[in-house]
């Protein structure tokens, strides 16, 4: 019935191979169209899958987990095998829709945005590669397949961030992104190893069985006072945190904005960065039943990241960086929601809210990035002080951007309101402190988003190189589509579609939470309106008053510098360099030393071969005497 689902990732793979290997030969636009068409087919197939899966049958009880395709890929031992397959359950079907939708939009958008760029077909090849990897990740039937595609996603992100490979900052950013996530993946890998050791399986189907039979071995296993399962799940989360740029592994994401803007929209806002959330959601049963401590960690890290990123976002001037920090903050929300979630029925509200927010966030954040791309396309700058009064020139961009800002600020009845509200409710039920944090962040979010909005679209005109003009249709259609999705996706009945135990449960609007959260959102907007609607000195004055605090925030609390210090100074200078030195001079020196000593000694004893007959005679007689002494008198 679902056999065609294998085509969803395969089409982008074929597109990647075709455009990658043959694309050089033909006109660039053909690659673009080919890629877009391919992805369009994937998108349609995904939608078909989603519709048949969610609405096709009458699911009185839980949604089934379907594996329409699976093949053995590698055998480790009799029990441990890696399979490649397609797994359909509510969350993966939902993710299929998200990924293909955003990817398709980005494909269309890039036709306009990347038009005339050198390496156009390369761009499309990489996009296809990324989409393939991301889809493979989403439909993974086992944790190792997920890890495989996890890595592929990482590398395609690396390639796309470094797309402008002649720009040193882009190269550095791509390197940073890859290495940081790779470091996180090490944790993921070790987590997988521990899990596989305990359970002897990689299969999600077995792992996420709520009865937890496979974890029987784990009882009593512990390391440094923490149980093995907690270790495993924290390490797995480390992988997720790396991809989702959770604090303290967040540093790569702002830099990743060096990539082309559509890439930022696709990878660094809507799809790849939510892979971490997806991973935790995917293993939620394991977290919840086997390692509740690890889930606690997830919640706190999520909460802290969302606050931390929101604070930084207020001070940034690069519009893509503001959006990047906003992404961080929203990802923190999702993680937190998972962290505070329970299992089954109403208890699983957090899980549902997280996935819901993942969905809506993908739509409105992609919209924001694509809108930002449209703006950058028009003014050729990333900095908001180069912008102002653009609402006249870019009407469609303006409207869609405004919708997105309202959505993220949580203004009802836009989609962001629903998902965020449910997260807040879940947090409130579980942990008051985290609720307070998130509540504050909701206000901050509204404030920095509207700071951005007012700075770009209102205020004075700047000196533009040429009059900004609205982007071509290829770029505005995706904007409009996503705006539409942002507005209406809030009404999707997620509580009956994607839940922790795959069962339907009822949700209702929690007015005690909703009203204050809307109010604080509006407060943020109002504050931004006061400060940034018109050009004024007030923000600068406030900044000056805050002094060190402001500078620290502006410099992202110097985390980049700290990491740079650790890598450049410590790893390079204090580990690598001494090792290189040690190798050359001590180890190799020892080996060469053996040679040198041999040579030296032979030079020395060469003197014995003096050609002087009498020396020989002396040696001979003395040697004979010594031998005689030894043999006759000692032995």
């Amino acid at each position: 019935m679902y056999n065609y689902t294998i085509l969803i990732p395969m089409i982008p793979l074929v597109m990647f191979l075709v455009t990658g290997l043959l694309g050089m030969k033909w006109k660039p636009i053909i690659s673009g169209l080919l890629g877009t068409t391919g992805l369009g087919i994937s998108w349609v197939l995904s939608l078909m899958t989603a519709i048949t899966y969610f609405f096709g049958g009458h699911h009185a009880e839980a949604f089934p987990t379907i594996i329409p395709f699976e093949t053995l890929w590698l055998t480790f031992s009799e029990t441990l095998q890696i399979k490649m397959g397609v797994l359909l359950d509510p969350i993966s079907v939902m993710m299929l829709v998200v990924v293909t939708t955003i990817s398709f939009m980005v494909h269309i958008y890039s036709l306009g945005y990347m038009h005339g760029e050198k390496g156009f077909q390369r761009f499309y090849a990489f996009l296809s590669l990324f989409t393939f990897s991301m889809l493979g990740l989403v439909i993974a039937t086992n944790i190792f397949q997920m890890y495989i595609f996890w890595e592929l996603v990482g590398v395609s992100s690396f390639l796309l961030i470094g797309f402008y490979y002649q720009k040193p900052s882009a190269v550095a950013a791509s390197k940073k992104a890859f290495i940081v996530t790779r470091f996180a993946d090490l944790g993921f890998l070790i987590g997988i190893l521990i899990l596989s050791f305990i359970t002897k399986t990689f299969d999600f189907g077995i792992l996420t069985n709520p009865d937890g039979a496979v974890f029987a071995n784990a009882a009593g296993l512990s390391f440094m006072g923490v149980s093995a399962m907690t270790w495993a799940m924290v390490l797995v989360f480390m992988g997720g945190a790396g991809k989702s740029a959770m604090f303290p592994l967040h540093i790569w994401l702002p830099d990743a904005m060096e990539g082309p803007t559509p890439v930022s929209a696709l990878i660094h806002a809507a799809t790849m960065v939510v892979a971490g959330v997806y991973l935790v959601a995917r293993l939620f049963v394991v977290y919840h039943f086997q390692a509740p401590d690890a889930l606690e960690v997830v919640a706190y890290i999520g909460g802290f990241t969302s606050l931390f990123a929101a604070v930084i976002a207020i001070t940034q001037y690069d519009i893509k960086r503001v959006l990047a920090f906003s992404t961080l903050s929203q990802l923190g929300y999702m993680m937190l929601a998972l962290g505070v979630s329970g299992y089954g029925g109403e208890e699983g509200l957090g899980y549902m809210a997280s996935v819901f927010h993942l969905f809506t966030h993908a739509m409105f954040k992609a919209l924001l990035f694509l809108g930002a791309g449209s703006i950058i396309h028009a003014v050729h700058s990333n900095y908001m002080y180069d912008m102002g009064g653009l609402r006249k020139y870019l009407p469609i961009t303006h409207i869609t951007f405004l919708i997105a800002c309202l959505t993220i600020a949580g203004v009802p009845p836009l989609s962001g309101f629903f998902s965020k509200d449910e997260i807040l409710v879940a947090a409130l039920e579980h942990n008051k402190l985290l609720f307070a944090v998130e509540f504050l962040v909701a206000g901050l979010t509204a404030f920095y988003m509207f700071r951005l909005y007012f700075n770009i679209f209102w205020g004075k005109d700047r000196h533009y190189h040429h009059t900004p003009h609205e982007s071509p249709l290829t770029m505005t259609i995706p904007l409009m589509f996503l705006a539409f999705a942002s507005v209406f996706s809030g009404f999707l009945p997620f509580h009956s579609l994607v839940t922790a135990d795959k069962m339907h449960f009822d949700t209702h609007l929690h007015l005690g939470v909703a009203v204050p959260s809307v109010l604080i959102g509006l407060l943020g907007i109002a504050l931004a309106w006061l400060l940034y609607k018109k050009e004024s000195k007030t923000p600068e004055n406030i900044a000056r008053k805050l002094g060190v605090l402001y500078t620290a925030t502006y410099n992202k609390f110097y985390f980049d510098e700290i990491y740079l210090f650790i890598t450049r100074k410590i790893i390079f200078n204090y580990i690598s360099r001494p090792i290189a030195w040690f190798d050359r001079h001590i180890v190799d020196g020892f080996m060469v030393g053996i040679g040198t000593v041999t040579e030296k000694v032979s030079y020395r004893i060469k003197g014995m071969q003096s050609g002087q007959l009498q020396h020989y005679a002396f040696m001979f007689v003395a040697g004979a005497l010594i031998l005689a002494l030894v043999l006759v008198y000692y032995m």
């Binding site: 071969q609 003096s610 050609g611 002087q612 009498q614 005679a617 007689v621």
Partner: protein, 105 residues
Amino acid sequence: MIEGIPIQHFLIVSTLMFFIGVAGFIMRRNLITILMAIELILNSVNINFVIFNRYLYPDQLQGHFFAILVVGIAAAEASVAIALIINIYRKLKNIDVENVNELRY
């Protein structure tokens, strides 16, 4: 066999002679002197052969014959050595052993 003289006395004499020869061989520079030192060594060995023959195995003459053969070899050796020395002298205009070191390392 000489009544009243133990074999040890002979042997001590020959030993001393032998090591005098060795010392001469090592000390002296002149090739001919070295040759003479060798003759001393050979001679002391000859004495030993004869003594052992006389004192320990008087029923045979093996030591005796060995001594004779050694004398013959010594003659051969001396003749070749002297030929060499003369040749060296022609080349180097002296016969210091230190100058004959072509075979060093």
